[in-house]
């Protein structure tokens, strides 16, 4: 069932409600256009569209939009911008008064980074000093609505693994709705993008993984 902002939700005390909603007096209401599911003693309200609000510990794919003397300004597909300090980006010794930071990261580069700190006034600190994080070379980037990210990953990464195994591509999904794909050829990359766009549009439907698998297998050799 789809709810729109202001729709009341019937609850009783035994049922736990998770997701996006607000309370007024004793009743709860939907806050965004969202999908409503109830199962046993759990009610789930999942927004169908929205923005990415940074959380500490999230892995995100960011784009370098400015280079400063001590770090980089990173667009994280959110109302707030991220900041990556030199010390969080590289283990190499750098003398910031002599070296050029553009040699490490420059305008338009995409990075896989983790959010290390969110300040009260929404200054976002990023870090790349963990395994697997760093600059993303080659491949293509697709942007989707951040609220659709859990669907693209699927239950226990089922959806992501389907795309990876059927098309034989590398794929990283950032929590902020950016997805990096690198395949052996451009064709499989494009097919993966097409599949992701279908997931984004159809995210409120059931049994999507099977649909996507059939779609990919049919088009793979076409």
């Amino acid at each position: 069932m789809i709810l729109i902002p202001g729709d009341p939700i019937n609850i009783n005390k035994n049922i736990k409600v998770i997701g996006d909603f607000y309370r007024k007096d004793d009743s709860i209401f939907a806050k965004t256009i969202s999908l409503f599911e109830s199962k046993n003693f759990l009610m789930k309200i999942t927004p169908l569209n929205g923005i990415y609000i940074p959380k500490k510990g999230d892995s995100i794919i960011g784009k370098v939009i400015d280079v400063y003397a001590n770090g980089w300004l990173i667009d994280i597909n959110s109302p707030y911008v991220g900041f990556l300090l030199v010390k969080d980006a590289t283990d190499r010794f750098l003398d910031v008064s002599k070296d050029d930071l553009n040699n490490i990261l420059t305008y338009g580069d995409f990075v896989l980074a983790k959010i290390s700190n969110v300040m009260k006034n929404k200054i976002i600190n990023l870090t790349m000093k963990e395994r697997g994080l760093g600059k993303l070379d080659g491949g293509v980037i697709v942007s989707i609505s951040p609220k659709k990210v859990p669907r693209v990953i699927g239950k226990n990464s089922s959806m992501m693994n389907t795309i990876k195994s059927v098309l034989n591509v590398d794929m990283i999904v950032g929590q902020n709705g950016r997805i990096w794909i690198r395949g052996k050829d451009r064709r499989s990359e494009l097919l993966a993008i097409e599949a992701i766009k279908i997931i984004e549009k159809q995210s409120h439907r059931k049994r999507l993984t099977i649909t996507i698998k059939k779609f990919l297998e049919k088009n793979k050799n076409a």
């Binding site: 789809i2 729109i4 996006d20 965004t32 256009i33 109302p79 911008v81």
Partner: protein, 251 residues
């Protein structure tokens, strides 16, 4: 004997809604009250430039009319009227949005009137609240706007241009329209555009252009409250339709 355009006194004009028409925008909608068409586009929330005032998001509204939206060409750009209406639409929408969850960000709403036949601000507010919902901005409820008023001596809803300009003195000399005086009664028209949060039964704006007695004002506002729930249902239906009409790819 019905109104100028054949409606009953408590009948709103035909509403039609189109959603997500601008692919590059976060959310967009066209809302039509009969011949009044409003397009609203939402951009954001996007990063604010200043960190001062980060406790709350900033909502900006720009209202404008296309030059050919009115019978006589309107000079392009914002004038006194457009600036004022931008502020009114902003005030109507603001109480519905959880701006404290979007600290330090900016939401831009552009309202463009494509065709005007009275009630442009109400159509604009309805279009804007649809576009905000589609952009995924957390809201208490859709803001529903509608105009009520007193034409002659009769309370009516959703006035059109002809009713807004009603003057029984002038109509007396018009052989075709003088018969309407019987229906509306003597006097001039009073226009009351209101915006409502239906779930709370609260008004976010009430404007009054003309004269009206206390009793009639109460009656008119109650009529608006009643009708706002009806309009909300139509808007909800349009949103649900959009999600249900998406077809799965052919396999």
């Amino acid at each position: 004997m019905p109104r100028f355009d054949g409606r009953e006194w408590n009948e709103i004009r035909k509403i039609s809604i189109e959603l997500d028409i601008v692919p590059n925008a976060a959310g967009s909608a066209i809302f039509k009250f009969g011949e009044t068409w409003a397009l609203a586009i939402v951009d954001g929330p996007k990063p604010g430039k200043m960190s001062a005032g980060f406790e709350e998001g900033l909502l900006r509204v720009r209202y404008d009319m296309l030059p050919f939206s009115v019978p006589e060409r309107k000079k392009p750009g914002q004038g006194r009227r457009e600036i004022e209406l931008s502020e009114i639409i902003q005030r109507a929408l603001k109480p519905a949005i959880f701006l404290d969850e979007l600290h330090g960000s900016i939401i831009d709403v552009y309202v463009q009137i494509l065709n005007a036949d009275a009630g442009t601000r109400t159509a604009g507010i309805n279009a804007a609240s649809l576009a905000l919902a589609l952009a995924g901005i957390p809201m208490k409820d859709l803001v529903i706007a509608v105009a009520v008023g007193k034409v002659g001596e009769r309370i009516v809803i959703d006035l059109n241009k002809e009713e807004e300009d009603y003057d029984s003195e002038k109509l007396k000399n018009d052989p075709e329209k003088s018969k309407f005086i019987e229906y509306y009664g003597e006097g001039k028209a009073t226009d009351i555009p209101v915006a409502i949060l239906p779930s709370e039964r609260k008004f976010t704006i009430i404007q009054l252009d003309g004269e009206i007695e206390r009793e009639n004002l109460k009656k008119a506002l109650n009529l608006a409250l009643e009708k706002s729930i009806e309009i909300r249902e139509i808007m909800k239906k349009a949103i649900l339709n959009k999600y249900e009409s998406l077809k799965l790819p052919r396999i």
